[in-house]
């Protein structure tokens, strides 16, 4: 009963699912090798990096913020991890070092944004440049490589036919869903995004919730960094830099309101999956990569336009907090 409720899709998510299914059907029929096991494995290896960064970005955008530093947080975390690995640290210790680095980056954002109320876009623009600079200074622009053989298992291994990156991503999806939907913190995130003043007056400790949001996005960046360093067998300043705006596009496609307050994990995952099958299939066709961008943009605008029309037709005011049964309970959070 509970599970069924959990899997219920909103109107917008149904649209997304339909688009996904439509594209999937089309590509299965027309794209060479799309239905092959090799392609599915390959897509499951490609998807998690963007997916993880999108989940991190999503949490921040839900509070009406944005984290422009997320990809360079991942880069810096990856570089710390890579440095430790190449200096003979055991793998878990190196991963911990990467995690700590990312969390420091996230905490730095958090202190200024939550504590000093600096606008998130300005602050993270600053830290984006700062983290890139630190990474560049540390690596002199080169890449760090020379990892133990065992480390490559994360990027290239699989369990029961499912690639390890996908398993990590699945874990992150569950974690995000639980944190956002089943905890007081999660409901506070939505509240702050909808109406920060009301959130403040209803007793939510806005500062610590916001701090948590930036730490969470850093955690996702750290996970993405683990996958990237393993898949690319090295770390470098600009690995994954192209994921920054793509992650914003992904969450917007996934139905997250850029003004904050609305958006679901299911939607974001569907959004990421749509972008992935789109780019893989278009590569399988052998289309010009510029067309891939054109079509990605077209799909994004189409879906958003249809969603807007949908809402107009229904003539219902846009509900900013999605209709969760527990929304009312969340107004009396444990943080009192």
């Amino acid at each position: 009963m509970k599970l069924w409720q959990y899997l219920r899709l909103s109107a917008y998510e149904t649209t997304l699912l339909a688009v996904f299914a439509g594209l999937f059907l089309l590509f299965s029929l027309t794209a060479p090798n799309f239905l092959s096991a090799a392609n599915f494995r390959s897509m499951m290896v490609q998807l998690p990096e963007l997916g993880l960064i999108s989940l991190g970005m999503m949490a921040v955008v839900l509070t009406a913020g944005i984290d422009l530093s997320i990809t360079f947080t991942a880069a810096l975390s990856g570089i710390a991890l890579a440095w430790c690995l190449s200096h003979g640290w055991p793998i878990p210790a190196a991963m911990l070092a990467g995690l700590v680095t990312a969390l420091l980056c996230g905490a730095f954002n958090g202190v200024f944004i939550a504590g000093m109320r600096i606008s998130p876009i300005v602050m993270t623009l600053g830290t984006m440049i700062l983290y890139e600079g630190i990474a560049l200074q540390f690596t002199k622009g080169g890449s760090i490589s020379g990892f133990p053989e065992a480390y490559s298992v994360i990027g290239s291994g699989s369990v029961a036919g499912i690639p390890v990156p996908m398993l990590i991503f699945t874990g992150a999806i569950l974690l995000t869903a639980i944190l956002l939907n089943r905890t007081a913190w999660g409901r506070s995130v939505y509240m702050i995004g909808s109406n920060p003043t009301a959130a403040e007056f209803s007793g939510i400790r806005v500062r610590s919730v916001l701090m948590g949001v930036y730490l969470f996005s850093a955690l996702m960046a750290a996970l993405a960094a683990v996958i990237m360093t393993s898949r690319y067998n090295s770390a470098k300043v600009d690995y994954g830099s192209s994921y920054l705006l793509k992650s914003v596009a992904t969450i917007v496609l996934g139905g997250v309101s850029i003004q904050g307050g609305a958006g679901t994990v299911k939607g974001v995952v569907l959004g990421a999956a749509i972008f992935q099958i789109l780019s893989s299939a278009l590569n399988l066709y052998g289309l010009s990569p510029h067309l891939v961008d054109v079509l990605t943009g077209t799909v994004l605008i189409f879906v958003l336009a249809v969603n807007l029309l949908n809402q107009k037709w229904k003539r219902a005011p846009r509900t900013r907090v999605p209709p969760p049964p527990e929304a009312t309970e969340a107004k009396v959070p444990a943080s009192r």
Binding site: L23, T30, P32, A38, S143, S234, N283, H290, V306
Partner: protein, 357 residues
């Protein structure tokens, strides 16, 4: 409720239409690209990678980045080779110079089951795992333009000998400014490994041969953008009035530097030498704001890469001094897998019009 379903359906339909339309359009307009995406291509029906049933090879050539003049020129050469040799050339790559995106493109090429992949790595180390995967899938792996890690490729196609090229650039600058004085270095990006190689080799050469040349400041990154190179050069000219020479690496950087020199009217006082394409350099070569552009012909490089890929797929070996049509004699290093296309080409005021890239 009804409306929602209607619109969902309409959307799915519309998206499908756009995609099929674009697919058909690109197939027709792309010259020697794949025939059409409307129907599954014959070589794809097998499923797993490896053999091509259609008789002609599918050779994928992956640049660092699509849509910049340099790689566009190499695409033309590669496609030409495809036509001449009767192989299907797939030219695809990342739209941003990010190794992550490049790895994903190669993942998809492996799924597609091409016969050979030639790649210009954005970062050699990052591509090693995915190239190894390609190799395990029975795909011939080559690098071109920029070397990948040596043990994952069957053949490495280089446009020039890095040392010869780096020293030639320095010699050209010294020809213009003399063997003493202040000079500065502009580069496309601090992490571009081929640019760094040339700069490092050039620096070593300067220290041993021209000790009186003085580098005024660290190498200046310009993000592969002419506009930024222009601004940074203006700053340079202001900060170092005695500057006599500029070495500009990456194709947009020399243009930006020359633009600044031209604007300030310092054509005679400052020697600008860099790696640029001849047609772009034309206006600056004319009035001497750019003294010489040194590069190679990227179209030839694309041609050579496809030619050699087919040569290997046919089961042949590459040999030193081998004659390649449209390219000439190539040099093969003693390791048997490093190919050098030829000496660098100087683009000067008198000859830049002879080139069409």
């Amino acid at each position: 409720m009804k409306r929602r379903w209607f619109s969902t359906l309409a959307l799915a339909l519309a998206v499908s239409l756009v995609i099929t339309a674009c697919g058909g359009g690109a197939g027709g307009g792309g010259g020697s690209q794949s025939q059409s995406s409307g129907s599954p291509s014959p070589s794809a029906s097998g499923g797993s990678g490896g053999g091509s049933s259609g008789g002609s090879y599918q050779i994928a050539i992956v640049p660092k980045l699509v849509g910049i003049p340099y790689f566009n020129a190499s695409e033309v050469g590669a496609k030409q080779a495809g036509q001449d040799l009767g192989v299907e050339v797939i030219y695809t790559g990342p739209t941003e110079p990010d190794a992550a995106q490049q790895v994903n493109v190669i993942e998809d090429l492996i799924s597609r089951g091409v016969d050979a992949i030639a790649v210009a790595p954005n970062d050699p180390a990052a591509l090693t795992p995915v190239l190894r995967k390609a190799k395990d899938a029975g795909i011939l792996v080559l690098d071109w333009d920029t070397p990948a890690e040596a043990d994952v490729v069957e053949l490495s196609v280089h446009q020039i000998d890095d040392k010869v090229f780096a020293e030639h650039l320095v010699d050209e600058m010294v020809k213009g400014m003399g063997d003493s004085g202040e000079y500065a270095i502009l580069t496309g990006g601090l992490s571009a490994s081929n640019l760094n190689t040339w700069i490092d080799l050039g620096q070593e050469y300067i220290q041993s041969k021209y000790p009186n040349l003085k580098l005024v400041t660290d190498r200046i990154p310009t993000d592969e953008k002419q506009q930024l190179a222009y601004q940074k050069t203006l700053d340079l000219l202001r900060a170092y009035p005695n500057l006599k020479g500029i070495l500009a690496y990456s194709t947009p950087a020399p243009l930006g530097a020359a633009q600044a020199v031209q604007e300030r009217g310092l054509q005679d006082a400052i020697t600008v030498v860099g790696t640029a394409l001849p047609t772009d350099s034309g206006p600056f070569l004319e009035d001497g704001s750019l003294d010489v552009a040194v590069l190679w012909d990227p179209a030839q490089l694309g041609y050579l890469t496809i030619y050699l890929a087919k040569h290997l797929l046919d089961g042949n070996k590459v040999e030193n001094g081998m004659e390649v049509p449209n390219v000439g004699k190539i040099e093969v290093k003693p390791d048997g897998k490093t190919v050098i296309m030829g000496p660098p080409t100087d683009f000067l005021k008198d000859n830049y019009k002879d080139y069409n890239f």
